[in-house]
């Protein structure tokens, strides 16, 4: 406990200096970045690269929405449109969403949160980034030389026989990038098992770490399957081997089984880390221990395990056996329960807390609402009777964007805002950040809610033109997407600005209870000057005098409320 005992309460308007030695200024030059084995620098390399892919994917999304303003779509040719939505999906899923939280925030924070100096295999960590870059380059090459028009799902035999686009390099790119995922997952698992600081027992781990533990299990078990699947598809495409092509005795449905065996759990690779972020934000900004810690941790593991058993719910209408469909529908409903448990525990945490509305907490509330809608609309799709009608319509598009964008991206942005002072040592403009959060929330709902209606009306997905009666909802959606674009550009600008010119944040500006906040911001290269020892329970504000807060004063017990605390 003696570590950093000189730390002052950060709520006061105390001025801080940037620490003299930190991971950012320890060494200089391009080599010191490209050959670094520091998990914090690798996280920043990942941050730059996933942001790059995010804006590529975002550009494609904007083209899609602009094209769909009118029923006949004058902007793009059918082939170009098909390339746009395919490359939007590939860039966003494989090169942004899957690596985003684990490879950026997880990489940066897991060693800090468990009191370690680095990940277990620092060189493998660097290797994973290079593997990602090589895979990304193949896919970019495919995008530039002819594009890809198979849909991100690469369904056979369209992808392996009939498509006239650059399928092979894209598939090889995704295949390669999978290994970066496996390496990251492996690194996390070994690190969490072997490198926890004294006193950091399993049930003192922050839930962010639990979520990443579960995610890593999925990465390690699932990714090899997609690798094999894509390798088979590439061989069929390049050498004409008949695995999935029915004209050669192959089975196109087999591809779907193999593809979804990974790609459904991959949904959890994207959402579990975001849930981990939310489990950090809510206790911090409610100043209260997380309600039902053990249940939330167990829910992460349950999702990781059951998530492997639901894959054919993407295939209810392929002609699969009725009995199989019923079994997989049942399991789909079971996997919904742990997510519901998490939501209820987050909400319960708010009760009796002392809630502030700093930017990360706005993202947490945004996540709660959007993830809830995304999760609940999954009921319509897991349910066999209603899936018949809405399968492969815009209802599906709306549903998974509520999970992926409303959930995973909101979690990612919330996490970035929460740990930005830790990563850079500096604070962004609070009012700009709150403004961006509100713009994102409004823009998001305007973009995607109309698509639920559109889907139930029967508009199929992946249509470059549509009957005129669907236009009004498409116009709403495009209007929302324009607002959303502003919402994404804003943080990009002010966060970068803040990294160089923002107010110095100090080691623990919120304050929060995790170990990562007990070292300077930005942290030194070795993370901690002395190996910390953990003597407190997670998210416990009461036995932490070092935070400089008022112990024993529960929220809601104050009779004369003081004006709301404004901290900007």
């Amino acid at each position: 406990m003696s570590l950093m005992s000189s730390q002052q309460p950060s709520i006061t308007s105390r001025q801080y200096e940037m620490p003299e030695h930190n991971y950012l200024n320890g060494t200089y030059g391009i080599r010191s970045w490209l050959l670094t084995t520091d998990h914090k620098r690798i996280a920043l390399l990942y941050l730059a690269s996933v942001t790059f892919f995010f804006f590529i994917g975002g550009f494609f999304a904007m083209m899609i929405r602009l094209h769909l303003l009118t029923p006949n779509g004058y902007l793009l040719s059918p082939d170009t449109y098909n390339r746009m939505f395919t490359m939007h999906g590939v860039a966003m899923i494989f090169f942004f969403l899957i690596p985003s939280i684990p490879a950026v925030l997880g990489n940066f924070l897991i060693p800090l949160m468990i009191g370690a100096k680095d990940l277990a295999f620092p060189k493998i960590n660097l290797l994973s980034w290079y593997v990602y870059i090589v895979g990304g380059s193949f896919t970019l090459y495919s995008m530039i030389t002819g594009g890809l028009d198979t849909g991100w799902t690469f369904y056979t035999p369209l992808s392996t026989v009939y498509s006239n686009s650059a399928v092979a390099p894209a598939v090889i790119g995704v295949f390669i990038t999978g290994f970066s995922s496996i390496l990251t997952g492996l690194n996390f698992l070994v690190t969490v098992h072997t490198m926890r600081a004294p006193g950091m027992t399993w049930f003192r781990l922050p839930l962010f770490v639990w979520a990443h533990y579960a995610t890593s299990v999925v990465m390690i078990l699932g990714t090899p399957v997609i690798a094999i699947t894509l390798a088979l598809a590439a061989m069929e495409r390049l050498f004409g081997l008949g695995f999935f092509n029915p004209a050669m005795g192959g089975d196109p449905i087999l591809f779907q089984h193999l593809f979804w065996f990974y790609s459904h759990p991959a949904v959890y690779i994207m959402i579990l880390p975001a849930m981990g972020v939310i489990s950090e934000l809510i206790p911090t900004f409610a100043r209260k221990q997380l309600f039902g810690y053990h249940f939330v941790a167990a829910a992460s593991l349950a999702i990781a395990v059951i998530g492997f058993l639901v894959w054919t719910h993407h295939m209810f209408l392929t002609g699969q056996s009725t009995y199989a469909a019923i079994a997989f529908s049942f399991l789909t409903f079971i996997v919904a329960i742990p997510s519901a448990v998490k939501v209820f525990n987050w909400v319960a945490t708010l009760f009796g807390g002392s809630i502030s509305f700093d930017t990360p907490m706005l993202y947490a509330f945004g996540f709660l609402g959007l993830f809830l809608i995304g999760g609940l609309t999954g009921l319509f799709l897991g349910c066999l009777g209603t899936d018949i009608h809405i399968h492969d319509t815009y209802f599906v598009i709306a549903h998974f964007h509520y999970i992926m964008v409303g959930g995973a991206v909101m979690g990612y942005l919330g996490g970035l805002h929460f740990w930005w002072p830790k990563i850079t040592g500096r604070m962004y403009s609070e009012w700009l950040a709150r403004l961006a959060a509100v713009i994102l929330f409004v823009g998001f709902n305007l973009t995607f809610f109309p698509q639920f209606v559109l889907g139930y009306l029967g508009m199929p997905r992946r249509y470059h033109m549509y009957p005129p009666e669907f236009q009004v909802y498409n116009v709403m959606s495009t209007a929302g997407a324009s607002i959303l674009a502003v919402g994404y550009l804003l943080p990009m600008i002010y966060l970068v600005w803040a990294a160089f010119f923002g107010k110095v944040a100090g080691p623990n500006p919120w304050p929060a209870t995790g170990l990562e906040w007990k070292t300077p911001s930005p942290p030194p290269t070795e993370n901690f000057e002395v190996t910390p020892e953990v003597t407190w329970e997670p998210y416990d504000f009461h036995n932490r005098p070092d935070l400089g807060l008022e112990p024993g004063n529960g929220g809601g017990h104050v009779i004369h409320p003081a004006p709301a605390h404004g901290d900007d």
Partner: protein, 327 residues
């Protein structure tokens, strides 16, 4: 005329109401939970808002009864929705016996449909109201999907196998159908109209002269053209088994298992004749993979089906001897 802000698709089949009722129930479930969480959050945001900068919350950090409650109640609701949806799905996948069978071929990027009497249509489907209709669907190339929103019915059309889709239209009118499985460049225009007509009107339309051979006659012609009839001799004296009465019956195979001779089996026997050899015959039949189109396979199948009522020879028949428990 469509309203400028349509909210609900038309209901025009016997499924539509069932699907919509369940949909409504799930919507209510969703609204209940969203409102519940929203009210709780807003209440907490107000009541437990931070009043002094250094304030912290209370020490409550769990409650077993709450955990059990919010695990089991959602679980029960989920299981109810699961069971309800499964009942609808089983009905949707189980076609009744008395259907009007229509053959459907999907190809990049058009639909070819054929009535039982041979009348062909492209991207149009005429069917009588209040009659059970079954589409037997195959694909020439990639996976497609036949989707009629007003019927709340869709099914993938997968190359290499037949999928069926049945429905009973309940309302005369004209409805969109779409391809809803992405199939390449012109996926979005691979659709058309289903016209549901009064039976009399349908009969009049059907009898319109088109010059199309019906599938059985077309299949019979092909059967001779491809020289199938030189081996599959009706009286059972050929190198291949007689096909009389085979359709729908059990076939005894060389490995002494049996298989029901349905559309898929006949299709496989044409394309991969060595996959299942009828007991007592040599694997001498050549494959017709690549030599016949999907449409021709459907015609051949229709012809074989028409032989169902022909007399089965005592020797040389494809069907398994009826096993009555004794050898």
């Amino acid at each position: 005329m469509q309203s400028p802000l349509p909210f609900f698709p038309e209901q025009a089949s016997s499924f539509a109401n069932n699907v919509d009722t369940l949909f409504g129930f799930i919507v209510l479930t969703c609204v209940f939970f969203v409102v519940l969480v929203a009210v709780l959050c807003v209440f907490a945001m107000y009541k437990y808002r931070r009043k002094r900068p250094a304030e912290i919350g209370d020490t409550v950090n769990g409650n077993l009864f709450l955990e059990i409650g919010w695990t089991t109640i959602p679980l029960l609701i989920a299981l109810l929705i699961f069971a309800w949806g499964s009942v609808i799905y089983v009905n949707f996948r189980t076609a009744p016996a008395d259907t009007l069978d229509i053959y459907v071929i999907g190809k990049q990027w058009m639909w070819k449909l054929q009535q039982p009497n041979g009348r062909k249509e492209i991207n149009e489907l005429h069917i009588p109201v209040n009659r059970n209709v079954k589409l037997i669907m195959g694909s020439e190339d990639v996976i497609h999907d036949f989707y009629v929103p007003a019927f709340r019915a869709k099914m993938d059309v997968v190359p290499g196998r037949y999928n069926t889709l049945w429905f009973r239209p309940t309302k005369v009118g004209k409805y969109h159908f779409f391809c809803s499985q992405y199939c390449g460049t012109n996926h979005a225009v691979m659709g058309g109209w289903v016209t549901v007509q009064d039976p009399a009107e349908y009969a009049a339309w059907l009898s319109g002269d088109t010059g199309d051979l019906n599938p059985v006659s077309a299949g019979e012609k092909l059967f001779a053209q491809l020289a199938c009839n030189t081996c599959h001799i009706p009286n059972g004296s050929g190198r291949g088994p007689s096909l009389n009465g085979v359709y729908g019956a059990k076939v005894l195979l060389a490995d002494s298992t049996t298989v029901t001779a349905d559309d898929s089996y006949i299709r496989e026997s044409i394309l991969q004749p060595k996959a299942k050899i009828v007991a007592g015959y040599q694997p001498v039949m050549p494959t017709f993979q690549g030599l016949v189109t999907e449409e021709q396979i459907l015609n051949l199948t229709a012809y074989v089906r028409s032989l169902q009522t022909q007399p089965v020879p005592a020797k040389g028949a494809g069907i398994a001897p009826v096993t009555t428990g004794k050898k």
